[in-house]
């Protein structure tokens, strides 16, 4: 089986599909994932215009060093079919589906994407899916959504709509979404996909952002959606591995290599067995380090 390619998703930033300047500027920030938005940031009267703009921008002005995503309109909206027609043809890395609540919704979108991929000669399954979990029902069904389709590579929690659906009060500390964050995270871990955390809404509160990002990192998230470009570097820093984590990852991979040379089926490190997820985690750690400009080659462990 081919090695799973690691694509960093430490930070995601939305660029409105109705604003060319927004889309052009977004390329120059340090986010790992750039999401061209056709949904919330685009007024109903401009949906057609945004579709043309996003298609043209992704096709002709696409950043080479980012995971490029298009957020389409909701599954039950009148815009979805045409959004998919445009989005698949633009050939982004992924399509972000808002307000997912059931596995069958993801599967239906995946089938539609497959039909368009076939028509235009794209490799079947090439376009990945990221599911936004934005309601209590999405949280309750997180396990089935995470495993709904091989295209699903990540789920992202979104707190604003979620708290509204729960009739909860949105607070800065976020206790009201603590369970939801963990439920989605665990579903992602069970499915072997990436987990992306909620936005921190107060763009002026840098300390609050740090605290919230530290919590997300400690809980196990792979990244966080940013509401403003000024949050990107702070969030990237938290999701960049420490020297201790990098050295441990290097030791894990060295042990795996040594095991392969010796033809061993099971490999151990410090008496503990190294399994496939540990190896993948070590590779992810090194990829995150390298993306942050840390050279790990030749590092003494």
């Amino acid at each position: 089986m081919a090695e799973k390619e690691i694509r960093l998703k430490r930070t995601s930033l939305y660029a409105s599909g109705s604003s060319p300047v927004n889309m052009i500027q977004a390329v120059f920030y340090n986010e790992d994932m750039l999401i061209y938005d056709l949904e919330d940031s685009v007024p109903a009267a401009e949906k057609d215009a945004a579709r043309f703009l996003v298609y043209q921008m992704v096709k002709h002005h696409r950043p080479k060093d980012k995971y490029v995503c298009i957020r389409v309109n909701g599954i039950y909206s009148e815009y979805l079919e045409e959004d998919l027609q445009a989005a698949v043809r633009a050939n982004p890395d992924g399509i972000r589906i808002p307000k997912v609540e059931y596995a069958r919704e993801v599967q239906a979108v995946s089938v539609r994407i497959a039909e368009i991929e076939k028509k235009i000669g794209l490799k079947p399954g090439k376009i990945e899916l990221i599911c936004n979990i934005e309601s209590y029902m999405g949280v309750l069904n997180a396990m089935e959504i995470a495993q709904a389709d091989p295209r699903v590579v990540a789920m992202a929690v979104s707190a604003e709509d979620l708290t509204a659906s729960m009739r909860a009060q949105r607070t800065k500390k976020g206790l009201e979404v603590f369970y939801a964050r963990n439920a989605v995270l665990l579903a992602c871990r069970a499915a072997g996909i990436d987990a992306l955390d909620i936005v921190f809404s107060d763009i002026h509160d840098k300390e609050g952002l740090k605290e919230d990002t530290a919590l997300a990192k400690n809980l196990g998230f792979d990244g966080k959606t940013c509401i403003h470009p000024r949050q990107i570097d702070t969030v990237n820093a938290y999701f960049t591995p420490s020297m201790k984590e990098i050295k441990y990852a290097l030791r894990v991979l060295a042990a795996v290599e040594e095991g392969k040379k010796q033809g061993k089926g099971a490999v151990t490190l410090n008496g503990g067995m190294i399994d496939k997820p540990m190896e993948l985690r070590a590779r992810t750690t090194l990829a995150q380090a390298e993306a942050a400009g840390i050279r790990t080659e030749g590092m003494v462990v």
Partner: protein
Amino acid sequence: MEIREPAMAGTLESSDCQIVLRPNPGRGIEIDLDSAVEAMFKDSILETVKQTLAEFAVTDASVEIRDRGALDCVIRARLQCAVCRGAKESYDWTKEDG
């Protein structure tokens, strides 16, 4: 494709352009361009406009463009949108497959 009614797409924000398309029966394509970068990019902008209209087989239209430094792909997107709005037709995305 026939432009049936006046249509507009785009804005006057930086890096964007505003295109107003009007029916122009029997008088061909007439382009009125106002651009901050006209001295350097006039020919390129006009070429993009003519090419995009040709792809839609639009033969008669008056095109007014207020450009604020839009990229070529933005001008193209705005014009595609204006044509579909003016022709009152939705876009056939399979046209992009050729």
